[in-house]
């Protein structure tokens, strides 16, 4: 019994043990299967990670290249393009050193810029490094990329290792828009540092980056050169336009000046002819008047004498024949002989005064015109002023519309002044006439119209001022007042030559100044400043 029970138990245990062992073996198998799957998963995960890393790296590189392209497009500064390119080659493409060559006029490739050469002893020979085009490209035709990697044995390439300071390098050719070569971009590494850099490998992706950068740089520099050439053309065009504009301006100014001179000359001619005619007329007129007046004056004297004789005769008859006949008495009464006796002397005196006044006016006319004094002569300018005033006396006098104009003279002690007297008198005439016109204007508020004439001698210069207390001259008019043909008078009242001629006479003929000062609403002063002697000019 007991043996049977032990046997059953043993059998059950054995069965359970076998079952457990089977389960254990199955679990082990499952575990091994899982471990196998895990190793496969690990491999897959690693591969995915590497692919992702490579993808991320490519995306970063493309992003950086895109950023570089944007940066290059935003600048028109070649040095900045170069700086960006070198920085990109070193910091983003990961090469140790970078060199940029530009082709010069002698077809020599000269170092334009470099980076990554931190040993300063290397930089001086590098700055002087040049490459003849055929030195590097003789056997390499139209290649756009030359690669001298660590295993390169091509002597054309390996000979440049020491001069570039690179034990492996790649050269990208820079082409312009017409595919003409204008430079080289060289990137590379030294042997002792290349393990920490992007290697130069003909089969590697890194050189695609070099080509990409070199293309972008070439385009950017070509664009800048085109832009600069365009700018230069624009500048040259602008310069030409500017020069022509200036030339036109100069011609315009010259024409203006000529026109001004012509106007002035025309004015002078007109004035001269007018004055010549007027002078001749005045002189002739004065001569004729003077002759006639002299005759009248002399005849008045004779007539008076004759008349006195006649009256004395009549008196004698009355005394000798107190009883005349009725006919004589009637005739005597009709003649009002007593009145004749008292009035005739007055009449003759009046006629004599009138004749004398005509004589004086004629004298003034002669003095004013000074026909006989064409050359410079020393004259008393006060005489000239006074003669002018005499001629203008009727304008200065009161009439039904205007009160009389008071003339105040402040004459200094002035010696004889060397001048063209007739011309100077013309100036006085114009200036006093202007003063009279100003004082006769409706805008003039002067209750006592006045012209003050002042003469001063200082340092051998004579100043003659004509000041009126009229309405003044606005600035806009004052600036043009001496221009020929400028006038504020109505048509027919004057051609606008008076002041311009006066200006010419004082400036050109006498080497002096004619100035106009005016205070609007108060006064105007014309001031003549001339040398006492023309040798003082």
């Amino acid at each position: 019994m007991a043996d049977n029970i032990r046997s059953d138990r043993s059998s059950n245990i054995s069965t359970s043990l076998e079952s457990l062992l089977r389960e254990n073996a199955a679990l082990r198998q499952q575990n091994e299967d899982l471990a196998q799957q895990t190793t496969q998963l690990i491999k897959t995960e690693n591969r995915l990670f590497q692919l992702q890393e490579n993808l991320d790296l490519q995306i970063r590189t493309y992003q950086k290249l895109s950023d570089l392209g944007n940066a290059l497009n935003q600048t028109f500064d070649t040095s900045q393009v170069i700086s960006l390119a070198l920085e990109f080659a070193i910091y983003e493409l990961g090469f140790e050193r970078c060199l940029l060559f530009f082709l010069n006029a002698e077809q020599q490739l000269c170092v334009e810029a470099f980076d990554g050469y931190y040993d300063e002893t290397f930089t001086t020979p590098l700055q002087q490094l040049t490459i003849g085009w055929t030195d590097l490209f003789d056997t390499h035709g139209d290649q756009t990329l030359l690669v001298c990697d660590a295993n390169c044995t091509d002597e054309t390439l390996t000979q440049w290792r020491s001069q570039f300071g690179m034990d492996e390098y790649a050269v990208a050719v820079l082409h312009n828009e017409t595919q003409a070569t204008f430079g080289l971009l060289v990137v590379g590494n030294t042997a002792d540092m290349w393990k920490y850099q992007t290697r130069v490998d003909a089969d590697g992706n890194a050189l695609l980056g070099v080509l990409n950068v070199s293309n972008q740089v070439a385009i950017a520099i070509s664009n800048i050169r085109l832009y600069n050439a365009q700018q230069q053309q624009n500048r040259e065009l602008e310069h030409v336009v500017q020069e022509r504009t200036q030339e036109l301006y100069r011609k315009n100014q010259s024409l203006k000046h000529t026109l001004k001179k012509l106007k002035s000359a025309q004015a002078q001619i007109i004035h001269n002819e007018k004055m010549l005619g007027l002078g001749q007329f005045v002189a002739g007129f004065a001569h004729e008047i003077n002759n006639s007046v002299n005759t009248i004056y002399a005849n008045i004297h004779l007539a008076n004498s004759y008349l006195q004789n006649l009256l004395a005769l009549v008196k004698s008859y009355q005394e000798e024949y107190p009883q005349a006949n009725a006919f004589i008495d009637a005739a005597t009464e009709r003649a009002d002989l007593d009145f004749l006796e008292t009035d005739l002397p007055k009449l003759f005196q009046s006629a004599k005064d009138g004749a004398e006044r005509i004589k004086n006016i004629v004298l003034s006319l002669k003095s004013f015109s000074r026909k006989d004094e064409i050359a410079k002569k020393r004259v008393d300018i006060h005489d000239g002023i006074n003669s002018t005033l005499m001629l203008l006396e009727h304008q200065l006098s009161a009439d039904s519309l205007y009160p009389a104009i008071e003339v105040v003279k402040h004459y200094g002690t002035i010696p004889l002044v060397e001048c063209y007297a007739a011309q100077l008198n013309q100036v006085f005439m114009h200036l006093i006439n202007n003063g009279i016109d100003a004082l006769r204007r409706p805008s003039s508020q002067a209750s006592t119209p006045r012209i003050t004439i002042t003469t001063v001698l200082k340092d051998n210069w004579v100043t003659i001022s004509f000041e009126d207390n009229g309405p003044g001259i606005p600035e806009g008019i004052r600036s043009k007042i001496f221009e020929p043909f400028f006038t504020t008078k109505t048509v027919g009242k004057g051609p606008g030559l008076g002041l311009s001629n006066s200006y010419q006479i004082i400036h050109t003929q006498h080497g002096g100044r004619l100035e106009c000062h005016s205070q609007l609403g108060a006064a105007s002063t014309f001031r003549i400043v001339i040398p006492l002697l023309q040798t003082n000019r």
Binding site: K43, N46, Y118, K195, Y196
Partner: protein, 395 residues
């Protein structure tokens, strides 16, 4: 005065300008013109002598300690390119630094360790805080180096060692150690920090085991020949693609060896990770970053991004608890290059580091490097780690 610290970086390709730029930024942050002591970590694309010379000149020849790295770290920056550097300048009346450099690891790491002990002993005092140590990753045998150092006395085991193995960005040819004007290879550079400050350190990794537990069936020193009685290269080929087998740097950062951790709580994981730093086709072996005993059980491990995020947050939280209300003077950060660009997308790499910086403080001076092996004490024993991130906060 206290302690004024500033950190500056540069990615300029010209070593002279890069050194000047980084120092200028560091001095500006520290608000000083002349530092007492300088940390410098740089990647290997620079001509190292020119770089160190530039930093020395820019810092008024202040004492300098540092090494080449697989990458550099600062606030808001983790750069594993060949051209990056980070400089930390310190001016302090609370902290003292003694520093030096030793060559000859390839000849005898033990001897270098012994010499290190002899150099350290006169400088060691009761207020010693930590030994910052950088060693050539290519030639060092860390166990031998520690053995040599510890032969100088028990005081060496009580001294926390923080550092990393110098890298050369997976070229595996030459790394550099800096001490003042000296730039050496095949050596160690060290700086003993003493004074009135405390050190809070935490280490973490983000690896997870894959497959079954395995056993080392043939090993010699740090070299593994067989796993589960199969050639080690055949076993690893199961996990690796052909190109990863051919380019070992990819393999080394993708797979680790996870051994049972001596102190899981302190370590933050129940697995202690070893890296397979190289392989030898001729002998059919791989070299681990420390000696491996025959019969050891382990798991093949692999980084896990989610775990790395979690570990970063946990590390920062734990350090913040240790720091309490004290103000951090600076952070020294060592990241395994196996936690960088080789295995993580850039955004994850940056985000993991940013997580820690945000929690500890965005304005705290922060200097770090990517290393080929990380050094910090676990369970009060200075160890070399792989696939880890170490944060040391000096406060």
């Amino acid at each position: 005065m206290g302690t004024q610290v500033g950190v500056g970086t540069s990615q300029h390709r010209n070593p002279k300008l890069a050194g000047q730029e980084a120092v200028a930024r560091a001095l500006k942050q520290a608000d000083i013109t002349q530092p007492d002591f300088v940390f410098l970590f740089a990647t290997v694309g620079y001509r190292q002598e020119a770089l160190v010379s530039s930093v020395r000149a820019a810092t008024g020849n202040a004492s300098l300690f540092g090494c080449s790295a697989a990458g550099v770290i600062a606030q808001g920056m983790a750069d594993e390119s060949n051209f990056a550097l980070v400089v930390m300048v310190i001016c302090s009346d609370e902290l003292r630094f003694h520093h030096g450099v030793l060559e000859g690891l390839s000849e005898s790491s033990t001897a270098v360790g012994q010499s290190l002990g002899q150099q350290l002993q006169p400088a060691y005092s009761s207020d010693a805080i930590a030994l910052f140590l950088n060693a050539d990753a290519i030639t060092v045998n860390f166990d031998d180096l520690m053995a040599g150092l510890e032969s100088s006395g028990d005081w060496t085991t009580a001294l926390p060692i923080i550092g990393g193995l110098c890298g050369d960005n997976f070229v595996y040819q030459k790394t550099y150690q800096y001490c003042d004007d000296q730039v050496i290879s095949d050596g160690v550079s060290w700086a003993l920090m003493s004074g009135d400050a405390e050190l809070a350190t935490h280490i973490s990794h983000g690896c997870m085991p894959i497959g079954q537990q395995r056993t080392i069936t043939r090993a010699e020193s740090n070299r593994i020949y067989e796993i589960d009685h199969e050639p080690v290269l055949d076993v690893l080929h199961e996990y690796l693609q052909d190109d990863e087998m051919a380019n070992w740097d990819k393999a080394a950062v993708n797979l680790g060896l996870g051994f049972p951790a001596p102190n899981p709580l302190e370590y933050g994981s129940d697995l202690f990770i070893r890296c397979m730093i190289s392989k030898d086709e001729a002998s059919g072996s791989v070299a681990a970053s420390a000696n491996i005993e025959k019969g050891s059980t382990f798991w093949i491990t692999r980084r896990n991004t989610e775990k790395m995020y979690q570990a970063a947050e946990a590390t920062a939280d734990r350090l913040n608890r240790q720091i309490g209300d004290r103000s951090p003077k600076f952070v020294f950060h060592i990241e395994c290059d196996g936690r960088g660009r080789m295995i993580l997308p850039e955004k994850d790499k940056q985000a993991i580091i940013a997580t820690m910086q945000k929690k500890i403080g965005k304005t705290v001076p922060w200097i770090g490097l990517y290393s080929f092996g990380e050094i910090c004490p676990v369970n009060q024993q200075n160890c070399l780690h792989s696939f880890t991130g170490i944060l040391s906060v000096v406060c």
